[in-house]
Every structure is written in structure tokens, then in C-alpha cells.
Symmetry: C2
Subunit: 341 residues, 2 copies
């Protein structure tokens, strides 16, 4: 921000501001998408077009202070590329995993983050580090907000965002506004698709996420491998020097026609079709947007397969919702976060 003592109004006439306020000229805002593996930062202009970006790995140790320092450093790199310092940004929005309190900036239950054993005041710590006002939101919700405002959902008044990644998250927009219920609406990953079914990472049985979440898929793949089933999944993982079956590894195994990868992704698509159709039977939204790590990586062919898997379970099957892939891609979470400020 710069101090402005006079402005030019829409007719081109200069006039002095009463009291000479701090206002933004050529306002740029920052956005950060904090994930379990990477920190993605963007700088956007007034039209939310990305003018610079930076990406760094999420620290694997050091706890909350280390994570906050990495976020600030990643943002600083992006800001520098845009020719500004972070304290010149007209605010920073952050999408964080875990239970996020937008008022206080507290983040708890972020099991994907290192040493995040108890709630930590991420908002105030980050604001201190970057020198601009900082707002926090839930990672899935800000990504869905981004798709609603700027991406695949911008023609819709109501939508369900399906974030297919490590887990299966969801975000709901009804009549143009976010619906969060008492704070936890949109937990579509825990719609039950099979009574007494597979164990979910959440501890419950038969959740959609127990079949479709990447973490659950990996548990299943490891179990099958232990039982002697063949798969290229772990060879690809080792070749890429990874310890987890990240989205790109699944995509590569599918390309290589790996039987186990195909079977587990088929099972995931079936569960997604069933669970998302159930949610649509409840909400009757115009549009379903499929995003998240796996959703974005596997892309359009899998969006079409999820759409097809929904159809047998839709109550109003002659008027199905539009099913669209997330349009903002990998940067969607960070871009969506900029809408918080």
C-alpha cells in the first residue's frame, strides 16, 4: 500500500482525500495454499490474475514456527518476482488444512503438518512475519470459493465442490453463498457409501473416503502388495524418491496400465459416484466441481467417469447437475485464498 493524499476521480479530476487515507493503487494481494507436501504462494492483481508465484516444500520437522517461516519465505519469493515486498501487499489470504478459526487465526487438528500437536495461532504469527493483514480459511473451502467466483462454477448459483485428494473434502455454495452449517458442513468424505464397509482413516466404517481418499487407497495398496499382489506403484514411488503414493504416481501407474492402480482407482470412482450422488440428492445443486490433488491430476477423463458413476444413483436423473473439473488447476487453492482479503 502507498500513502495517497489526492486521487483522480472517474472524471479525471484530482481531489484531495479528506484526512489523507492509506489506499491501494495497483493493488496486489497474496494467497497461500498450505498443503501437507508443499506451500504454494501466488500474487494476484485486482482481477485475480496471477502475476507471480512460488512453491516450496512443506517442512517435515520444526513444528508450527518452521511452517510459518516457510510460508513467509515462499510468499516473499513470489512477491519479489512481482516487484513488491510482502508488506506492500494489500493483504494475504491463506487456505490451511485442519480446523481453522477465521476470526482468531487459530489452526488445530492439522495432522498433515509437522508437529502440529495442538492449536497454534497461525494467523497472527504469519501477519507478524509478512507485515500485511492476513486472513485464514479452510483449504478446501477457499479452493471451492475460488472455483465458484473465478473458475468452473462462475456461472452457477449453487454448487458442490468435491476435493479428491489425500482425503475427500467438500465445499458447498447455496444461492451464491458459502454454506458451512455449524462450522463443519461439506464433510462429504464421510458420507457412508457402504454400511459395515471398509475402515476409513477417520476410524469409522464405509465412508466414501475409505474407498476414494488417496491415504486409504495407499493403505489398501500396501496391504495388497504385502499379500503378494504385483504392482508398479511402489517402484514408481521409489524411482521418484518419494515415501508416499502421491497423485502423480497414481497417474503414472494408470498410464502404465498397472492392474492394481486401475482396480483401486475404479473402486474410488465407484465410491465417489455413489457418495456425490447422495449429496446431490440432498442438496440438488446446479453444479458439481471436481478438484483436489487426484481430481486435478487425473483430470477430465476421470471427471467424466465420476459423472457416469453418479448417474445410477441420482434421484432426478433426467436433470443431472453439470459435473465439471476444477478450472483454476494447481494454483486454485492459493488463488481462492486471495478472495479472503
Amino acid at each position: 500500500m502507498v500513502r495517497v493524499l489526492a486521487v483522480t476521480d472517474s472524471l479525471g479530476t484530482a481531489r484531495t482525500l479528506p484526512g489523507a487515507a492509506w489506499v491501494s493503487v495497483n493493488s496486489v494481494k497474496g494467497g497461500i495454499d498450505l498443503g501437507g507436501t508443499k506451500v504454494q504462494a501466488v500474487i494476484v492483481d485486482e482481477r485475480h490474475d496471477v502475476v507471480a508465484e512460488a512453491k516450496r516444500p512443506t517442512p517435515t520437522e520444526g513444528g508450527p514456527p518452521e511452517v510459518v517461516a516457510r510460508m513467509a519465505a515462499t510468499l516473499a519469493e513470489a512477491a519479489a518476482a512481482a516487484g513488491v515486498s510482502t508488506d506492500e501487499l494489500d493483504g494475504l489470504g491463506v487456505g490451511s488444512p485442519g480446523a481453522v478459526d477465521g476470526e482468531t487465526g487459530m489452526v488445530g487438528e492439522a495432522r498433515n503438518l509437522p508437529g502440529w500437536d495442538e492449536p497454534f495461532a497461525m494467523g497472527p504469527a504469519l501477519e507478524e512475519a509478512v507485515g500485511t493483514r492476513t486472513r485464514l480459511g479452510n483449504d478446501v473451502q477457499v479452493a471451492v470459493d475460488g472455483e465458484f467466483a473465478l473458475g468452473a462454477g462462475r456461472e452457477s448459483r449453487s454448487l458442490l465442490g468435491v476435493w479428491w485428494g489425500t482425503g475427500v473434502g467438500g465445499g458447498i455454495i447455496l444461492d451464491g453463498k458459502r454454506w458451512v452449517g455449524l462450522g463443519a458442513a461439506g464433510e462429504i468424505g464421510h458420507i457412508v457409501v457402504k454400511q459395515g464397509g471398509a475402515r476409513c482413516p477417520c476410524g469409522r466404517r464405509g465412508c466414501m473416503e475409505a474407498y476414494a481418499g488417496r491415504a486409504a487407497m495407499e493403505v489398501r495398496a500396501r496391504k495388497l502388495k504385502k499379500k503378494g499382489h504385483h504392482t508398479k506403484l511402489f517402484k514408481i514411488m521409489e524411482k521418484r524418491d518419494r515415501t508416499r503414493l502421491q497423485s502423480g504416481i497414481w497417474a503414472r501407474a494408470l498410464e502404465a496400465k498397472d492392474g492394481m492402480a486401475i482396480a483401486l482407482v475404479d473402486r474410488a470412482v465407484e465410491a465417489l459416484g455413489t457418495g456425490v450422488a447422495s449429496a446431490v440428492n440432498v442438496l440438488d445443486v446446479e453444479t458439481v466441481v471436481i478438484g483436489g490433488g487426484l481430481g486435478t491430476r487425473l483430470g477430465e477423463p476421470y471427471v467424466r467417469r465420476i459423472e457416469a458413476a453418479m448417474l445410477p444413483h441420482l434421484f432426478v436423473s433426467d436433470r443431472p447437475p453439470a459435473v465439471l473439473g476444477a478450472a483454476l488447476g494447481d494454483l486454485g487453492g492459493a488463488i481462492g485464498a486471495t478472495l479472503l482479503v
Copy 2:
């Protein structure tokens, strides 16, 4: 309504109305709940207290004109008991099964009603027959609206109504307003609780209604009986001169500790717990209201059992919604319908 040329204002001063309008004094309104077996009419005062009621069987033949005539006659009986004629009512609200167009008064897809083979303009026909302005709504939705405004949900800002009867219907109130989506929101009966599970009367597989709807429960009971399983259900039905296993018959069989009735109701409760919990994971509402024919007939002990069956599937299990039985009882649908006018 009566023609009023002068009124007394709040200070007790009589003043002439400009133009002498038709206004209501001691306004009473009518409400009709049209079901597959009975027509229930009520007359309510300004505070929505029931001042008279009447009940007649739904015609089993004759098609839409016969149904409309029966509705008018039932309303006339209730109105007479309240000391008015139907054209003196300050409007009539109707909760109807099927696809109801509130604007045009058209009702289609009402398979529970005799000879309702194509959409029929119930609203205009009924308005003509009763002589007062008539508004139509979906039967489940008006009953849920009634519970929200006047019954179990009146302390809540958001609720899910679970109407457990022949099928399992639902109604959604979010932030104090009905949410209907593109017109069919709340079809919770067709949340899938078991992929590849039991065949539902809707033709799909694994829907909550395939286990919990009274129609599906009856199909299952007849199948089991045919296979030689013992049950008192059909004896009670015959003794009561019925052809269907209505709610009271299930209640009687449970009292008599009939093994098949207990097993099928247990299965229904399990499915309701699973499916309603899934819906709560999506919506995160404050309150769940259990109503409908079976819900109301089986009452509080079964509301508690559904609540218990939900708990293992609730994502935010340390903050479960309040689960309440419908408070307006058998007349709830007709009382809720009066809110339409």
C-alpha cells in the same frame, strides 16, 4: 372474510378505512394434508391453534375430480365445526404428494393417489370448489415447515426433517429458510447406504428407502412370509381389514414381539441412522426432526434409537445435532399447510 368499513386502531379509536377494504377479523385458515389413505383437514386461528378438524378416507377410484371433491367435503366438515363456511376462510393451504408446482397448482407423479396418471390442476379445481384462495405445497415440505415454525424445530435456525413413512422424505431449512435447490432438494430417501444393496421401490439399489421405507419393508415381509418365515404382521392386517401394512400394524406387531417385525424395523433404524448421519455430515444442521407415518406412530423410543444409530457415522460426533420427534403429531401436515397462506 367479512367486509369491514371501519376498524378500531390500537388506541381504541374507530377510523374509517380508505376505500373500505375486505379485511379479515378473527381470521381462520384451512389446511389439508392429502395422503394416500386419508384426507386430513384442519381449521386454525391466527395463532395456528387448531379450532376444528375432520378426516375422511382418500377415494380409491374416480381420479383427480373425486379426490378434489373429497378434499372439499372434508374441509367443509371441519369448517362447519368451526362455525364458518369454506368461502369465509382466509385461505387454504394444501400439502400434496407428488411433484407439486406451487405457482400453477399442478400436481403430477402422485402415484399414491387413484387414477393420477397425468398432471392435474388441483389448485384451481380446489379453489373453485371451496371458494377461498388456495396454495399448494409438497406434503413433506409443508410438514417440515410446520415443525420448523410451530413444532419441534422452532428453536432452530437450521434443520433436517426426516419423514419416515411409505417412503422416506426429507425437508431442509437452512438459516431459517427452506432450501429446495433446483426443486428436488431433500430427497434423503435416496441417499445410498449400501452400494449394490437392496432394490428400492424407485428402481435403484441401496437407497436408504430400500431398507427403511414402509413400502419396501412390506415387500420384504411378504417375500419372507412366502419363503415360510413366521410373522403376525399379516394376521394383524387382516384382523384390521386392511390390505397394506400400515404404521399401526407395525406398531402392534412390535408390541407383540413379532420377530420379523423387530428384525425389519431394526434394519430400517440402522439404515436411517446411516443415511441421516450422511446428510448431517453434508449439511451440519442444528436439529433433525423425525416425523412421518411410522416416525410419529413409533414415537420417542424409536427417535432415540435412530439418534443412537447415527452416532457411529457422524463426522463431528462430539457435537451431534439435536434429534427430536415431530411435535405436531398427526395433524402436523395439515397445520404446516396453513403456513402456505
